[in-house]
Symmetry: C2
């Protein structure tokens, strides 16, 4: 299987397949002409990587997860620990984003949104310490 076919079979772009090889996530065989050759196992690996990425795991985690997948004597606690850390990171990010959303909603709600220049949003940016001029 050539890289194009592997891309279609796995849903991973040719570009990213080569990148994953570069960071040592897989090592396809080569024909005498240097063409990469992928087997069903390689496609499985690519699909595994894709699943990890869709769940937001960074590449370092994906690498670790791949190692655990391949290691038949792994402990499920390792996997769970990694996953829990990732969940925690995602929750923190959501908390940050929600704080931004809440602040922005308050500002937008206070803005008339008409053709006049007065705008609480701009005022808030210009007075970042919350020092309101009353």
């Amino acid at each position: 299987m050539n890289i194009g076919e592997a891309a279609r079979a796995s849903g991973i772009s040719r570009k990213m397949i080569r990148y994953y090889e570069e960071i040592a996530l897989l090592e396809p065989a080569r024909t005498v002409n240097g063409y990469r050759v992928y087997g069903p196992q390689d496609v499985q690996t690519l699909r595994f990587i894709g699943a990890c990425r869709r769940l937001g795991f960074p590449m370092t985690d994906v690498k670790a997860l791949l190692g655990m997948w391949r290691n038949r004597s792994r402990s499920s606690v390792e996997v769970k620990r990694l996953t829990d850390r990732h969940i925690t990171a995602l929750r923190e990010r959501v908390t940050e984003l929600n704080a931004m959303i809440t602040a922005l909603e308050a500002l937008a709600q206070a803005c008339d949104g008409d053709d006049r220049p007065h705008c609480p949003i701009i005022t808030a940016m210009a007075n970042p310490d919350g020092s309101h001029t009353r």
Copy 2:
């Protein structure tokens, strides 16, 4: 005011102050020796930028917001429109992250987390289409 002092006054690192200049957000004066010189207005600009960044606006939006701030004949509706688009983008991102969190929580909850290899998390990654082998 030198760049170091401007950095302390604005809470923006020297590195980023130079970067913001590079992308034309401000243009400090220079001494004869080439040192950047910042006035109170520049510090105001930097604080404005910092406030935008803390609310998650991308630099392109920051640039636009700066322009609106400086434009005394702006319409507040422009500002509000930009803000609303940003809020929408943030909400979408939160929705994505929450979907990941939900999926990961279900997997983690199903994982025993002991010293045995069996692990639903790994199994899920290896079978990305949800094709469970029963």
